[in-house]
C-alpha cells in the first residue's frame, strides 16, 4: 500500500470526485459520505487502484457503483435532501436558471441507476462500455437507463411547467 500515493491522489482528485458525488446524491453531506465510504473501502487495496490504467476512472467507477448499491425506495428518494446551488436561490430567476433548477430537482426523483447513468453520460460523457462498467450492467442497459431517465426528466419538466402555467 502506498500512503503517499493515496494522499497524492486524494489531493489531486478529491474535489472532482466530490462534485461527481454531489451530482449523484444531490447534497454535500451525502456526497462527502459517499466519497468517504468509497475511499475508505479502496484504501486497503490502493496498490491495485494504482495499477489500473486510469486510477481516477477506477475510483469514479467504485463511487458510482457504491451509490447505485445504496438502494433507496421511491419513498426514501422522495424524502431525501436535495441541495440547490446558492446562486439559484431567490425570487428573481431568469428563465435559464428556472429551467435548470427544475431539471436539477427532477433529477433527484429518478431511480439511482437511471440518475447515475444520466450523470455518467451527460456530465462525464462516458461511452456505453465505460458507463456499463461503472454501473455493473450491460451496454444495452446503459442505453435504456439513459433513455428512460431523460424521458422521465422531460416528462416531469413539461408537466411541471404546464402546472405552473395553469396556476398563473
Amino acid at each position: 500500500m502506498s500512503d503517499e500515493g493515496f494522499e497524492r491522489f486524494v489531493r489531486a482528485h478529491g474535489g472532482s470526485l466530490f462534485r461527481t458525488a454531489q451530482l449523484l446524491t444531490g447534497n454535500a453531506t451525502d456526497a462527502e459520505e459517499l466519497l468517504q465510504d468509497t475511499l475508505t473501502h479502496l484504501y486497503p487495496k490502493w496498490s491495485a487502484v494504482e495499477r489500473s490504467d486510469v486510477p481516477a476512472a477506477y475510483v469514479r467507477r467504485a463511487l458510482t457503483n457504491r451509490f447505485v448499491s445504496q438502494r433507496r425506495s421511491p419513498a426514501a428518494r422522495h424524502a431525501s435532501h436535495w441541495d440547490l446551488p446558492d446562486a439559484w436561490d431567490g425570487r428573481d430567476l431568469s428563465e435559464t436558471v428556472a429551467v435548470r433548477r427544475t431539471i436539477w430537482q427532477l433529477l433527484g426523483t429518478l431511480p439511482e441507476k437511471q440518475r447515475a447513468a444520466v450523470v455518467l453520460r451527460y456530465f462525464h460523457d462516458l461511452p456505453d462500455a465505460e458507463a456499463a462498467q461503472a454501473l455493473g450492467c450491460r451496454e444495452a442497459t446503459v442505453r435504456s437507463l439513459v433513455s428512460r431517465g431523460i424521458a422521465a426528466l422531460r416528462g416531469g419538466y413539461f408537466a411541471t411547467t404546464a402546472a405552473e402555467g395553469s396556476v398563473r
Binding site: Q36, H41, R71, P74, A75, S80, W82, G108, V118
Partner: protein, 456 residues
C-alpha cells in the same frame, strides 16, 4: 423546447451544479485521515442548516415505508384467525442464538426500522462492533414490544454481511454479490418474519431463533434474473407478498409478484399479466392488494392494479386521466380497503371504495419533491407529508385530512416533522414514527402533534 434543446439543458444543468458546488473546507485532509483510520462516517458539513447527518445506507431505511404499509395492516388482521399456515417446507433451518435482552445494543446503527403496531417494532442494522472500523460490526436485528422504550436482540442467520460494511457492498450491486446480504426486514407478527435483500431471502417462524434460507427465484424464461432491483414485501390477512423487480430486460420490467401463506415458503406467482414490474409500488390490507406497475412494459403510463382476493384476480383501476408514470410518490391502503395515492406534483387521489378516485391538490402550492401519503386510516382520514413552501426546502410538514383529501390542515408539532424530518415516516392513526438519525427513532402517539425520541 426540442429534444436536442432539452438534452443541452440537462448537460448545462449538471455542469452548472458542479461548477457552483463549493468543495468543503478541509475535504481532502478529512478524506485521507478517515480512510487511513478505516472510518466511513464523516462530520456533517452544514450543521448550521439544521441538516440531519443522514448517511446513504440509512436512506435505505425509508424502504420501511413500503414495508410498514403492509406490516401495519397486519396488526389489524393477524389475529383474525383465518391465517392459512401449512407446515413448513423442506427448508434448511439454521439455528441461531436465542433472544437476549440488551440495553442498549453497543454501537447499534439502524438501517431499517418498522412497526407493525404502536408497541411492536423491529430494527435491522449493525452493532457490537469490535473496533472503530465499520467492517468489525455485526448484522443485528432488534425488536421492541413497548413502542421503542426498550429493545431486545433477535437472532439472525449466521454469516450475514452488513449492508453498512464498506467491505461488503453486495446489497444492491448487480452481479457483485459477495455473500448473504440483507437490508430489509418485515415481521408479520411476533413469530413470523422475513429478512431480505438483493439475491437473499430468509424467513423465520419462531421469532428469529431459526431461519429458513429460501433460494432466490429462478431466472425467467428469457434468462433474466428476477431479483436485481429493490425487493419489496407486505403482509396482510395471513399472506405475505414479495415483489422482486427487475430492470435488466430490454422488454422492460420483468419482475415478479409472489404470495405465500405467512409461516410458509410456498411462494406462488400472482403477477398480473403484462404488468411489467419495475420500480413498482405495492400495498395490501385485508384481502385487498394494490400494485402500481406497467411503466416499463410498453405502456405509456403506469397502471394501478387491484385485487380483492389476495392476488388471484386483478383489475386495472386508478384515477382517470392521471399520469402516474414517474410521478407516483406513495401508495397506501387503509384497513377498510380505501386507497390513497400521492404524486410528486402534490396531487392526492383517494378512493374510499378502492375504485372511484377523487383528485385533490395540497393547498399552498407544490414545492420540491411533492406530496407523500404517510398514512391512511380510512377513506376519510389520511396524513400527507410535504414541503411547506419555497425557501423551506429542508423542512417537511404533516398535513391531515378528515374529508378524504378534499381539505388539509397542517399538524402543529414539535420536532421532528418541523425541522428534522428526513426520511422514513409512517402514520397509523394517532401512532406514527420517523427515523431521524442512525441512532434513534421518534414516535408519536397523538397524530404527530408531539414526538418522543427513542434510542436503540
Amino acid at each position: 423546447m426540442t429534444d436536442s434543446d432539452f438534452d443541452g439543458s440537462v448537460r448545462a444543468t449538471l455542469a452548472d451544479v458542479a461548477l457552483q458546488t463549493p468543495v468543503p473546507d478541509g475535504l481532502n485532509e478529512r478524506l485521507i485521515a478517515n480512510a487511513e483510520a478505516g472510518r466511513t462516517v464523516v462530520t456533517p458539513l452544514h450543521s448550521s442548516r439544521r441538516r440531519v447527518g443522514w448517511t446513504l445506507p440509512l436512506l435505505a431505511a425509508a424502504a420501511v415505508v413500503v414495508v410498514a404499509g403492509g406490516a401495519l395492516a397486519v396488526s389489524h388482521l393477524a389475529d383474525q384467525g383465518n391465517q392459512p399456515k401449512p407446515p413448513a417446507g423442506s427448508a434448511t433451518h439454521i439455528p441461531t442464538a436465542p433472544p437476549r435482552p440488551v440495553d442498549p445494543v453497543p454501537d447499534f446503527r439502524v438501517a431499517t426500522v418498522s412497526f407493525r403496531d404502536p408497541q411492536h417494532g423491529v430494527a435491522l442494522g449493525v452493532g457490537n462492533c469490535g473496533g472503530p472500523a465499520a467492517a468489525s460490526c455485526k448484522v443485528t436485528l432488534i425488536a421492541t414490544d413497548d413502542g421503542g422504550a426498550s429493545w431486545h436482540v433477535l437472532g439472525v442467520p449466521p454469516g450475514l454481511r452488513s449492508m453498512l460494511n464498506p467491505d461488503d457492498p453486495s446489497c444492491g450491486t448487480n452481479g457483485g454479490v459477495l455473500g448473504p446480504c440483507v437490508d430489509r426486514v418485515l415481521f408479520a407478527d411476533s413469530a413470523d418474519g422475513y429478512l431480505f435483500g438483493l439475491h437473499e431471502f430468509y424467513s423465520t417462524s419462531d421469532g428469529g431463533q431459526t431461519w429458513h434460507h429460501a433460494p432466490a427465484p429462478p431466472a425467467d424464461s428469457s434468462g433474466v434474473p428476477t431479483i436485481n432491483n429493490v425487493p419489496t414485501m407486505v403482509a396482510a390477512q395471513g399472506y405475505a407478498y414479495r415483489m422482486f423487480a427487475a430492470h435488466e430486460s430490454s422488454a422492460g420490467g420483468a419482475g415478479r409478484l409472489q404470495r405465500a401463506p405467512i409461516g410458509t415458503n410456498d411462494w406462488t406467482d400472482i403477477s398480473p399479466a403484462d404488468a411489467g414490474i419495475y420500480t413498482s409500488f405495492l400495498a395490501a390490507s385485508g384481502p385487498a392488494l394494490y400494485l402500481e406497475a406497467g411503466i416499463y412494459a410498453g405502456h405509456e403510463n403506469a397502471q394501478l392494479y387491484r385485487s380483492t382476493d389476495h392476488g388471484d384476480h386483478w383489475q386495472q383501476v386508478g384515477p382517470k386521466n392521471a399520469s402516474l408514470a414517474n410521478s407516483l410518490s406513495n401508495l397506501l391502503v387503509a384497513p377498510d380497503g380505501a386507497v390513497a395515492l400521492t404524486t410528486i406534483h402534490c396531487t392526492t387521489y383517494v378512493a374510499a371504495d378502492g375504485i372511484s378516485f377523487s383528485e385533490h391538490n395540497l393547498p399552498g402550492g407544490c414545492h420540491r419533491t411533492g406530496a407523500y401519503v404517510a398514512g391512511i386510516a380510512s377513506g376519510t382520514e389520511l396524513t400527507v407529508v410535504a414541503h411547506p413552501g419555497p425557501g423551506n426546502d429542508r423542512h417537511l410538514q404533516l398535513y391531515h385530512s378528515s374529508d378524504g383529501g378534499a381539505s388539509y390542515q397542517p399538524v402543529a408539532s414539535n420536532d421532528p416533522p418541523g425541522s428534522q424530518l428526513t426520511t422514513a415516516i409512517q402514520m397509523n392513526g394517532d401512532f406514527g414514527y420517523v427515523a431521524t438519525s442512525p441512532y434513534r427513532v421518534d414516535v408519536t402517539f397523538d397524530g404527530g402533534r408531539t414526538w418522543q425520541a427513542r434510542s436503540f
